[in-house]
Each structure stands twice: as structure tokens, then as C-alpha cells.
């Protein structure tokens, strides 16, 4: 049991919430008790999904540089957090992402084309595939946290075993909505996982300027929410602790706060230059020593699961899948001005009907 309810006297919060790890940075298994988690199939699946989303992320940056999509928020470095958490979910669960969590939404089953459409300024991209409950990315920081608490409340009310997961970053924990969302879920014991990817920077502001606390997990203590701090670059640890939190939620034991400690290598978005606010040497060091994909690759090698054909095959498959999604995105019909008006209300109001007619008339477009 790794659930931690509070610090004991004389221990620091960092000691009270130690970083949980199953796979060390060299790719060696670090927890005998949980060894059964380490199967060839699971390890390969983690690796494949992480390679897939990293390939996507790099492609998206290059598309942005070429002017083929808009401003883009990269997540490279956070793949273990996003894949590990998304793979713990059941298809019926709710996922509330931010703009940096499409690694998780794509792993959960979001359409790659739609994710690209979102980054290309099209709300068509926010429509999840049939049957998947993926909210559009939360843009104002932390505002999706109460939504997850509410959607989870509704699941409990309906008597299902479904849960919700809210993604957010370290900076979000300074916002009121974080605290109000956690308190709401705590009071009503909603089946929700608050999943914080602590990548240690909120755009340019480092954690030590964002908060006095050394951990984010300890913030759950105030709400009597079981909280755990995990190595966010260890996909096994993330997977295991989110799975455990989901079991707690499904069995009626309420919310969990998970702090996944990780790092984003790149910029906040393609519109900023990280070298302006942090020493990018540190990013390089972290890449060299703690990269989440290198770690799982080491693990595959150590266990003899790294067949060359397979490794090459999955990289090739990722490139092909993403190229196809890019093609699909670029073939997508151009924006129809009517869309602007058609979904503001379910039933159109007179002023919008007139405004729509006016715009279509100005554009010489067909009013259909």
C-alpha cells in the first residue's frame, strides 16, 4: 500500500511523500513485490505508445514551423506520465485534458487527425471518437478540475463504476479552481483522479517561485485526499499508481491526487523560447539521464525483448500513421462560416440567424 495520508512528526514533506519508482533510470526493475507488472506485452505496449506520441509531437512542431498548423504546445519528456495514466483508464472513464495532454488523449483513443485539427484552429478537432468521453482541452489553467469532479459525481449518482481523470500542471495548483475542485470531490467522495504532471515550470516560472512547498502531493492532505508522488518518467510507476487510484475510485473510496514529477524538454509552446527563462543544459542533462523512452528501451534490452525488427517496425508504423493523419487534416474541408453560428445554442436565436445570413451574404456563400 503506497497511499500516504500525511507526514509523521519530524519528517519533511519530501520524506513523507517519497517519489515512487518501479523502473529505475537504467531500466532496472526496482520493486520485487510488483514484479508481476513487468510483462513483455505491457512493456512493449508502453514503448510503442510512447514512441508514437513522441513522433507525433516532433512532427507537430515541424508542421508549426512550416506554417501548416498554428501555435503548438509540445510535451516531449512527459510521455511516461501521459501514456502510463491513459493506459490505466477504462474506455468508459472521463478524461479532462489540458492543451499539453494530447499524448494522453491519443493514447486513450483520440483521433490523431482531430488533434491536429484542434491545433490548426478547428473546433471539429474537439469532437472525440464515438463512445470516448474526452473533454476539449482546458485552456484557462485549472478550470477543468471542477468539471472532472462534477462528471465523476454524476457517474457515482448514476451508480456506475466509471471514474474521471483531470490532467493539470504544477502551476495549476496555485489556482482557486484546483482547491475548489479538490474540496468538492473530497466532500462528495467523487470517483476522480487529480493527475498533476509536475514538469517544474509554468511557462517560465519554476516551482520554487510558484509555491513554497517542495511537493504538490502534500496539497491533498488539506482535503483528506490520499496523495502520492511518483516518478513521472517511469511509465510503470505512473501506470501502477493511477490504476490503484482508479480502483479506489471505483470501489467508492473517492478521489486521489497524484503528482507525477517530470520535465518538458522544450518550450511552453512554439511561441516561446525556453532558453530565455531556464538553462537548457538542464534539459539536456535530464534527457541524457532520465529520458522516459530511453528508460523503457533499456528495460526491453535488459529483458531481451528488443527485437530489431519489432523496434524498427513500430517506429515506422508511427511515422506512417502520423503522416496519414497529417494528410487527412490537410484534406479536411475548409471552414464553413455557418459553423460559427450553428452551435452557439441548440435552437438558433433570432439575432444569430440574422448575423449568419449577413455574414453568408457578405461572403457570397450559400446559406444552407
Amino acid at each position: 500500500m503506497t497511499m500516504i495520508l500525511g507526514a509523521e512528526r519530524g519528517r519533511t514533506m519530501e520524506e513523507a511523500y517519497p517519489i515512487q519508482q518501479l523502473l529505475d533510470p537504467e531500466g532496472k526493475w526496482a520493486n520485487e513485490e510488483l514484479k508481476p507488472l513487468l510483462t513483455e506485452e505491457r512493456t512493449k505496449s508502453f514503448f510503442e505508445n510512447m514512441v508514437r506520441i513522441r513522433t507525433f509531437d516532433r512532427k507537430a512542431i515541424s508542421l508549426q514551423r512550416q506554417g501548416r498548423i498554428g501555435t503548438y504546445a509540445p510535451f516531449e519528456g512527459q510521455e511516461a506520465s501521459q501514456v502510463g495514466s491513459a493506459m490505466s483508464l477504462s474506455k468508459e472513464d472521463w478524461l479532462f485534458p489540458t492543451y499539453r495532454d494530447h499524448g494522453a488523449t491519443m493514447t486513450f483513443g483520440h483521433s490523431l487527425c482531430n488533434v491536429l485539427l484542434f491545433w490548426n484552429g478547428r473546433n471539429e478537432g474537439n469532437i472525440p471518437p464515438e463512445g470516448l468521453k474526452i473533454f476539449p482541452p482546458g485552456i484557462p489553467i485549472a478550470t477543468q478540475i471542477p468539471h472532472a469532479a462534477g462528471a465523476a459525481f454524476a457517474e457515482k449518482k448514476k451508480g456506475t463504476k466509471n471514474a474521471a481523470i483531470a490532467f493539470f500542471g504544477d502551476g495549476a495548483t496555485s489556482e482557486g479552481d484546483f482547491h475548489e475542485g479538490l474540496n468538492f470531490a473530497s466532500v462528495f467522495q467523487s470517483p476522480v483522479i487529480f493527475f498533476c504532471q509536475n514538469n517544474q515550470y509554468a511557462i517560465s516560472v519554476p516551482q520554487n517561485k510558484q509555491m513554497k512547498t517542495k511537493t504538490i502531493a502534500q496539497k491533498g492532505l488539506a482535503y483528506d485526499i490520499p496523495s502520492v508522488r511518483v516518478d513521472g518518467n517511469d511509465v510503470f510507476a505512473v501506470y501502477h499508481h493511477v490504476t490503484e487510484a482508479l480502483e479506489r475510485a471505483r470501489s467508492g473510496n473517492g478521489p486521489t491526487l497524484i503528482e507525477a514529477v517530470t520535465w518538458r524538454y522544450g518550450a511552453h509552446t512554439t511561441a516561446d523560447d525556453p532558453s530565455k527563462y531556464r538553462n537548457q543544459q538542464e534539459s539536456q542533462v535530464r534527457r541524457d539521464r532520465f529520458d522516459p523512452i530511453t528508460r523503457i528501451e533499456n528495460c526491453l534490452k535488459a529483458n531481451g525483448w528488443d527485437e530489431e525488427n519489432w523496434m524498427f517496425g513500430i517506429k515506422q508504423k508511427a511515422v506512417e500513421e502520423i503522416d496519414q493523419a497529417v494528410e487527412e487534416m490537410e484534406r479536411f474541408p475548409p471552414p464553413n462560416p455557418a459553423v460559427l453560428f450553428d452551435h452557439v445554442y441548440k435552437n438558433p436565436v433570432p439575432s444569430l440567424v440574422r448575423q449568419k445570413e449577413y455574414l453568408l451574404d457578405v461572403l457570397g456563400a450559400d446559406n444552407s
Binding site: 473546433n123 462534477g150 459525481f153 454524476a154 474540496n183 433570432p350
Partner: protein
Amino acid sequence: MTSSVERKPLTVAGAINEALSDMLREDERVILLGEDIGQNGGVFRVTEGLMETYGEERVIDTPLSEAGFVGAAIGMAANGLKPVVEIQFLGFIYPAYEQLMTHAVRLRSRTMGHFSVPIVIRAPYGAGVRAPEIHCDSTESIFTHMPGMKVVCPSNPYDAKGLMIAAIEDPDPVLFLEPMRNYRSISEEVPEGLYTVEIGKGKRLLEGQDVTIITWGAMTAVSMKAAEALSKQNISCEVIDLRTLSPIDEDLIASSVQKTGRTVIVQEAHPQSSVANDVLSIINETSFLYQKAPVAKVSGFDTPVPYFGYEDFYLPTPERVMQAVMKAVDF
């Protein structure tokens, strides 16, 4: 419908209570959320008795957390419930502004209808009841400025019940403004059972020929008083209660002001960037050449809503309305 028990007339507060009760009974997706609405029945007793009847699972006392419970209600609404959320006073809604502006009103268009937020936000509003500061705001135009939001504001028991049922049945977010001054000032017979007052439709409270007075909420009573006094001076006023502030009933406004050619808009809100200005703009667009006098506004002022020691200076009075009407007639 026959009933051996004679129904008592209802106040606005009683009519809203009955609408909530009927909808809780009718639709199991309906839940009520808010501060002190359960055991205490709400600070204005609008939810009195509902927790006893429908249980703590459906009439829910929330933490003191407007952004939190409005945000949670958005998640509930997107997941199949129909939350009716009480904000204790409109002046306390501002922490939830972000949740309403960036999520409640946009989720449908962000997802092209895949997700929607059928939520009702109830809020008592307005001055004139000698309430403490911040409890008296009339900032409806903050919410009419939200694309995707509907804003209704009944002035009487019949409309209050019908609009509440319509608001709960509406597929989109509705802000339901409850004029505190009117909560218990009028009682009337209200039909039993479910009926709706269409959102987006105003009502002619009084037929007249000379001047149209356009108003809503607590200012309907002030306007009616002015109209009665003016009728003794042979000035015939038509009084329009907008009932819905978004979308506004443009046809009703146009038909009335084209008939009378003179208009006075009465609101208690701050005049700048207010709903009165939207009405003015509708008159300009639909009925400019019919006007025999400049359209007048009788408003609160562009000052903060004052402490109640000063509120009588702030609020429009029948005298101020009469003065504006006379000026339009004499133009």
C-alpha cells in the same frame, strides 16, 4: 384539473419553489446545488422543504465555493444531469464568472454540439430591500454579453414558475435572475402542474398609445406605478416586461415602439454597457423612423450600487420614470 383543496395564491418565491419541486418530481436528472439550500431552505426560503421531500442526494448543500460548484455542475450537466445551481446573491457570482464565460457557454460550440451544458443558475438580484453591500447588484449585462447564455428575469409569480420550468427544460445554460424586491411583494393564482413561459418572449403588462415603457424585473412595479399616475393625466403608457434579457424579444419591442413612437427604458442597472443600450440599439435598427422623440433611459447610475443608506437615491423611482415620459411626450 379538479382539486378539492383550494390553491393558495403564490408569491414569486413560492412559484419558483413549486417549479423546482415539480421538476424534481418530473425529471430524475434534475438536482439542486447551492449554499444553504438544503436544511435551511435557502436564505430566501426559495428551496424550503425540497430537501425533506427529495432528499440530500438531490438537494445538495455545497461548500462555499462558487467557482467550484458551478464548475462541478458543468461537469455534471455534460454528463447527463440537469443541475439547478443557486448563487446566494448575484453579487457573489463573480468567482464563477470564469466557469460560465469560458466553459458553460462555450462547450457546445467548442465541440460542435457533441457536449452541452443544460444548467440553470439562479441568482437573487437587485437593490431596494436594505440588504448589505454587494448583495444588491444588478449586473445582468455581464451575462447578456456571453454568447451561448440565456438570461431570464421574471417579475411575477406566473412568469417565475413558467420561466423556471422552461429554463430547466432548455438545452443550454440559463441565468435565472430573481428580483429580491418582488419575492414576496405580489401573490397571485398560479396554475398547478407544469407549464412554460417561452424564453425569448416579453409580455405587454399594460396596453397604451402614447409612450412605451420597456422594463424588467423589479422595475416593472416602478414602471406600472408611473403608468398609473400618468393615466390620470391622460397619458397612456404601454408597459412591456421583457422577461427575457437574452435573447431579447425584438418583435414585441418593435411593434410597440412603432405604435407609440415614444420610448422610455427603465432599468436599475448601471447605464453604461447595459441591457437598456441593447434595447436602444434594437429600436434604432427596427424603428428609427417611427420615433417622435429621443429614446430615454431611466437607470441606476455608473456608481457602485451604494450602501442601502443611499439606495433610494440610486434606484429609479416612479417620479423619475414619469419625468422621462413627460419629456418624451412634450418633445
